[in-house]
């Protein structure tokens, strides 16, 4: 009896599987024409299942923002929306050239301390209620650095201004370095010359907000941004929490080209963007290592939609250089020489990345092609480690990564295996929740760690000084080299841009020689864009670019 029942249960399961597989085969035979037939999913009318799309509507996949308050955002997800909705004095165009935004033009005094901005006179807030004046900038910037606002970016991006410190401590009621000379003229004075001050002003912290709307709201009360009234190329039409963000072009926008899209819809609830793209529910999707093989296959119709662009980032293994045996540069070099970066970049990450020679990514001004990086050489690596006699000590260490779930990423697994194979060193992986990871880095509790750095603006200062200056708050490796610090000081004061970049190249070479990091790879943005869209190029860092996107049909 029992045996017979088992037979029936198995038959049931078998029939269930036949139903599933049969259905799939049926579907294949039905849908087979699509795959080898016409180009791409936009032509085979799946739209019956999706509903009509508004003409000129761009449908994107987006991250869930923390806030849309320019003074407060420090994450890329939030900034992505903010730069389209709000605007500041200066910005980047789609060739990454720094251009005037609300500021029409400006002069810098010869000592590099005083910036005089002449504002456009035709800039209105989205609601059309009034025009933006120098007073609005004074208000917005002072709000960003006001301690009551509780912004964590205010002092980072605007801390160069004269009088900010006195304002923060309460010794002054206004920032003396921000002066509204008249409604059309804003004068900013710095404490010391800063070669990247204008670059810092492209970040949302320095953007203008509508004081009638913001009133006394601090960063953690920024619910007003659900109805944000900005000055950027697009206005916020809808923010349905956790579900979607909808932008519409601003008729008041003052730069050319004005936005040509009729609407931009971001889906922020997640889902399978690759499937959505194939079914014509999205106009753009990112491509990860799961789908890259299929997309790169020339017989795949999606292959025509494939685009890549350079990112300004670097992913690396960091060392806590204050902990033995990682305080020994030879130990660090041996570990670096034992890693086959070409294998990681091409075989494992399938061309989605480029192996990193140094720290500065190739698309960055000041990238040094002649930089002498540390090359993969397993034999020399083993000999070098032998000469230090620290193999056993090294094998007790842990590599800290951030993340959840059973499997850390393939790259880390491969590196651990390379160290084991090439050096006989067994290093353990320690995976931590992001919060704990940050705390451990802050308190220097880590030994080895894996992390990435993404540019805030295209300047080597943003990579090198922030991560390697002895007293930098973000110097997690604890690296300290007085010669490097001296080069940084020189570069900060240097007025000649070309010489300044050379100073950074020297500093980068010294840092790479000391190897407080093993730079692993630079990522590329890899994505699919529908063929009827022009000008959609993912920028290497967060800048407004949707106004350059057009539909060709």
């Amino acid at each position: 009896m029992a045996a017979r029942n088992l037979v029936y249960v198995l038959t049931g399961i078998a029939v269930g599987m036949i139903v599933i597989i049969g259905g799939l085969v049926f579907a294949l035979s039905l849908g087979g024409g699509d795959d080898d037939g016409n180009g791409g999913s936009s032509n085979n009318s799946p739209s019956s299942s999706v509903g009509p799309r508004q003409k000129g509507e761009l449908r994107l996949f987006g991250g869930d923002p923390i806030t849309l308050d320019p003074a407060c955002a420090s994450d890329a997800d939030s900034a992505t929306y903010i730069v389209e909705i709000f605007s500041g004095l200066v910005t980047y165009d789609n060739n990454l050239k720094l251009i005037g935004d609300i500021a029409d033009h400006w002069e810098v005094s010869t000592d590099g301390l005083k910036y005089t901005f002449h504002l456009r006179t035709n800039v209105l807030f989205h609601d059309g209620s009034r025009r933006v004046t120098a007073d609005d900038f004074k208000y917005s910037m002072e709000r960003a650095v006001n301690p009551d606002t509780q912004s964590d970016t205010g002092d980072v991006y605007l801390g160069d201004l004269a009088g900010v410190d006195e304002y923060i401590t309460g010794d002054a009621t206004e920032v003396s370095g921000i002066k509204a000379v008249d409604p059309n003229t804003l004068e900013l004075t710095l404490k010391a010359p800063d070669a990247v001050f204008l670059e810092k002003l492209t970040y949302p912290t320095a953007f203008v907000v509508d004081k009638n709307q913001v009133k006394t709201f601090g960063c953690f009360d920024s619910g007003w941004t659900l109805k944000a009234n900005g000055t950027g190329p697009f206005k916020l039409a809808e923010w349905s929490l956790g579900a979607r963000i909808v932008l519409e072009p601003s008729e008041n926008f003052y730069l050319t080209p004005k936005p040509s899209l009729s609407k931009v819809t971001y889906l922020i609830a997640g889902g399978s963007s690759y499937t959505m793209y194939q079914n014509d529910e999205l106009d753009v999707t990112g491509i990860g290592s799961i789908n890259i093989d299929s997309v790169l296959d020339p017989s795949n119709p999606l292959n025509k939609d494939y685009h890549t662009s350079d990112n300004l980032d670097v992913f690396y293994i960091g060392f806590n250089v204050k902990k033995s045996p990682l305080d020994d540069p030879d130990v660090r070099k041996a570990l670096a020489m034992a890693i086959d970066k070409d294998f990681l970049a091409s075989d494992l990450l399938k061309g989605l990345t480029e192996p990193a020679n140094g720290i500065i990514p190739p698309a960055m001004p000041g990238y040094n092609e002649a930089l002498k990086g540390i090359k993969f050489d397993p034999t020399a690596a083993r000999a070098l480690l032998d000469s230090t006699g620290k193999r056993d000590e090294l094998s007790k260490l842990k590599l800290l990564t951030s993340g959840q779930g059973a499997a850390p990423n393939d790259v880390i697994d491969a590196i651990i295996a390379m160290w084991d194979q090439n050096l006989g060193v067994k290093i353990e992986i320690q995976q931590e929740d992001f919060g704990l990871f940050l705390t451990d880095l802050r308190d220097s509790n880590q030994e080895l760690y894996s992390l990435g750095w993404i540019a805030d603006y295209p300047d080597p200062q943003n990579f090198l000084e922030i991560n390697f200056r002895s007293n930098s708050g973000n110097n997690q490796s604890g690296y300290s080299n007085p010669q490097v610090d001296a080069l940084f000081d020189q570069a900060d004061a240097e007025q000649d841009p070309q010489h300044r970049l050379e100073l950074y190249q020297q500093a980068e070479q010294m840092i790479v020689n000391d190897e407080p990091w093993i730079p692993l790879y630079h990522q590329k943005a890899s994505y699919l864009v529908k063929p009827n869209i022009q000008g959609f190029e993912v920028p290497p860092f967060v800048i407004p670019f949707l106004r350059f996107v057009t539909f060709t049909d």
Binding site: F220, G242, A243, L267, G271, G435, L438
Partner: protein, 325 residues
């Protein structure tokens, strides 16, 4: 009977605040003892450590946990359950209720379908015991229940979306009727409801089958047959009525479970529901949202259980509430 019932309900209700206190205190404490906090995590690595420390201090995150908890309870008693920190500055109710409503719509429909299939299926399996139909029917739905959603969702997407072009691959519709958001009336709701229904049928059917078999063995069923009643009358009037009793308990649990979303289904299908919200509120240290979800869930669970117990007394007079009373 009525006074007994009233005092029973009162006694049960008296326990509610204690349950809420224990659950909220445990959640609050665990949340605050988790490493880092939202100020630190949102600031990212560029921020000035002193600035972060100042903001933490000002926001009371450095105070002893019991003090923070006291403050939370004091505000909650006045009806202020705090504000979200992702997105920032939005009252927790505005964050939670739209997503709760999405999850309830999906779960409710899936619940109805799985009952409509599961109860007849279980009954049929029991009545056909000894034939091939019984293990076959149960086996088929066991397969559906055993395939993890991580496998079934992409498979269904591929089948219905990419091959048949019948359904959209995910997302949630913004359809509304008379000002009420009813995204459930959209093709976008089909996949999530299908996945949850297929997964829910088997356990219900197996439970129903066991109940029916137990009742079929009872003397009164034999008596009914002996009296010469028609087979279907015996099944409907005697067997099903009795077999359904314990199932009511499951229904209570499932009602309470309506507000719990599936992280995987929501993530794979891009549905702004509760599963993802709760997961994210924990990882983002969105304390107030986390607390509100737990308190809401506890309250609904406690009341659902109470309703089940009372309903039980009405359906089955043999169960006497209030014990010796």
């Amino acid at each position: 009977m009525a006074p007994g019932l009233a005092s029973y309900v009162l006694r049960r209700l008296a326990v509610v605040p204690i349950v809420l206190f224990v659950v909220s205190f445990a959640t609050f404490t665990l949340g605050r003892f988790a490493p880092s906090d939202y100020v630190q995590m949102q600031a990212g690595s560029r921020a000035n450590p002193e600035t972060i420390e100042r903001i933490r201090e000002e926001r009371g995150l450095n105070d002893p946990v019991y003090e923070q908890y006291g403050r939370y309870v004091w505000h909650a008693l006045q009806g202020d359950f705090g504000t979200s920190v992702k997105p920032r500055g939005v009252p927790v109710s505005d964050v939670i209720f739209p997503r709760l409503w999405v999850t309830v719509q999906i779960n409710l429909l899936a619940l109805v379908f799985s009952w409509l299939i599961g109860i007849p299926l279980g009954t049929l399996a029991a009545l056909k015991r000894g034939t091939w139909l019984d293990p076959f029917a149960i086996g088929t739905f066991l397969l559906f229940a055993s395939v993890p959603v991580l496998v079934s969702v992409p498979l269904l997407q591929w089948f219905f979306v990419l091959k048949l072009h019948l359904l959209p691959s995910g997302g949630w519709s913004d359809a509304s009727f008379f000002g009420v958001d009813l995204g459930i009336f959209s093709a976008r709701a089909v996949l999530p409801v299908l996945v949850l229904t297929l997964a829910g049928v088997a356990s219900l059917a197996r439970y129903m089958r066991a109940q029916v078999l137990e009742v079929l063995d009872q003397d009164f069923v034999r008596t009914a047959h002996a009296k010469g009643l028609r087979g279907d009358v015996v099944v409907v009037r005697h067997v099903l009525r009795n077999a359904m009793l314990p199932i009511v308990t499951i229904f209570g649990f499932e009602l309470a479970g309506l507000i719990g979303g599936s992280i995987f289904v929501e993530t794979l299908l891009g549905i702004p529901g509760m599963g993802l919200l709760f997961y994210e509120s924990v990882t983002a240290r969105n304390y107030d949202v986390m607390m509100a979800i737990v308190l809401l869930g506890t309250t609904i669970f406690v009341f659902a259980m109470l309703v089940v117990d009372i309903a039980y007394g009405f359906i089955d007079p043999r169960v006497r509430l209030g014990g010796a009373g």
